[in-house]
Amino acid sequence: MTGAHRRLASALSGAAIAVLAAGLTTAHAAAPRSVPQGAEVTALAFDGASRTLLKTTADALYRSVDQGRDWTRLPLPAAARRGHIAAVAVSARGKGVLYLAGPGIGVLRSDDGGQHWSPRNQGLPGREVVALAAHADQPGTLYAYVSSHGIYRSENGGGHWRLMDRGPRTDILQLIHSNMPGSMQTGWFFAATAKGVSRSMDCFCGWRDAGGLGRGVRAVAYDPGQPRRVYAATGEGLFLSTNGGEQWVRVNAPAAKVVALAVTRSGALYAAAPDGALFRSVDQARTWEAAGA
């Protein structure tokens, strides 16, 4: 806790602290976010159970069952048009449960692979959900980051949310949960922020800068087959860590700018460029090919 936080915490008396739930002290001001335009990809995800690739833009969700060659646009409810889509998450162990989230939208859930959706916002302080992560192993557990508030957890598939932590000092742009070993609890978070990658165990017992990348990170992804292997897309190229974010090395990027990443169960890495172009690497970002080509 910083001095300012401490001062605020001690200035608040019981009732006010209770409102802040669990002594989660201050909210930090939300950084202004640019709204992605048109076809710009905002998120990628891979559903291992159905071997489906998912891709979002600010206003649409697409799926591909042939490694990105053909895409089908999925129907979305009116609620998805109240903001812009920033995240898509697949429930652990599949069964077609998907989640969508974004500022203005809150959280939406589908139980049938994206054909029907319903809102899942009970317990959230608003709809400004900027990041969403599904637990790597527990099907009902999800984490939503609400700007100016913090990270909320649901353990019943979005049925109810509870404030867990205010998050790292720098706003989260994207959040993933990983089952990398070594956690005190059940896994780890990696958060893409404007200052690098932030890492915490999922007991929320301390965010630390992971590996001192020292530059804005737009997307982060880990390899489910080798969870210590983490990728980070920055404004200045793509980085790989093979030790859970302790050190990073620059690897080949398929495009000048990468805005979203996903890794399949077999370790294939997908990267999206702002214009929607999608690339695939099966050798840990040594070489790339256009996806679906």
């Binding site: 002594g23 932590d165 070993p181 070594g182 302790e246």
Partner: protein, 150 residues
């Protein structure tokens, strides 16, 4: 003076249960006194006499080890359920990214009785805010003390 403090801490903890609990209140007061005693003898040297933690506890030190964190309201001890706290104290812990292999948080299982481990953890709860205690109580539902400590 200390009894007054202990009593209000008990009330906050919801340990001072019933009206006819004169006896259970004093049993709980004894429990927390035990916890405080264990804390002073076994924990304070590293975590600070008041649970304030090491000075620069949020970053690894010169040896690449995370220093002892605070146990008061500024730390994150209150984020863990009872079962997790019990395991940490019994089995010890080191951050997996520490540059050394040793257990920086020693295992007290070999030297402290289960009820003493529980007592020291319950004592730590008196250092938290009411909201933190509520949060931790909620987490403890999924992660209660193990049978050996009940």
């Amino acid at each position: 003076m200390r009894n007054v403090r202990t009593f209000s801490a008990l009330a906050l903890l919801g340990l001072a249960t019933t009206a006819h609990g004169g006896e259970s209140v004093s049993a709980n007061a004894r429990h927390l006194d035990t916890g405080h005693r264990v804390y002073r003898a076994q924990c304070g040297a590293c975590h600070g006499a008041q649970g304030e933690g090491a000075a620069r506890w949020e970053r690894p030190d010169g040896q690449g080890e995370l220093p002892p964190p605070p146990h008061d309201s500024r730390g994150h001890t209150w984020k863990h359920g009872d079962g997790m706290l019990y395991r940490i104290v019994r089995d010890g812990w080191r951050d997996p990214f520490n540059k050394t292999e040793r257990l920086t948080m020693p295992a007290f299982g070999p030297t402290l009785a289960p009820r003493d481990i529980r007592a020291v953890i319950d004592y730590l709860k008196t250092l938290w805010t009411p909201a933190q205690r509520r949060f931790q109580r909620e987490e403890s539902r999924r992660m209660p003390y193990p049978p050996e400590a009940r």
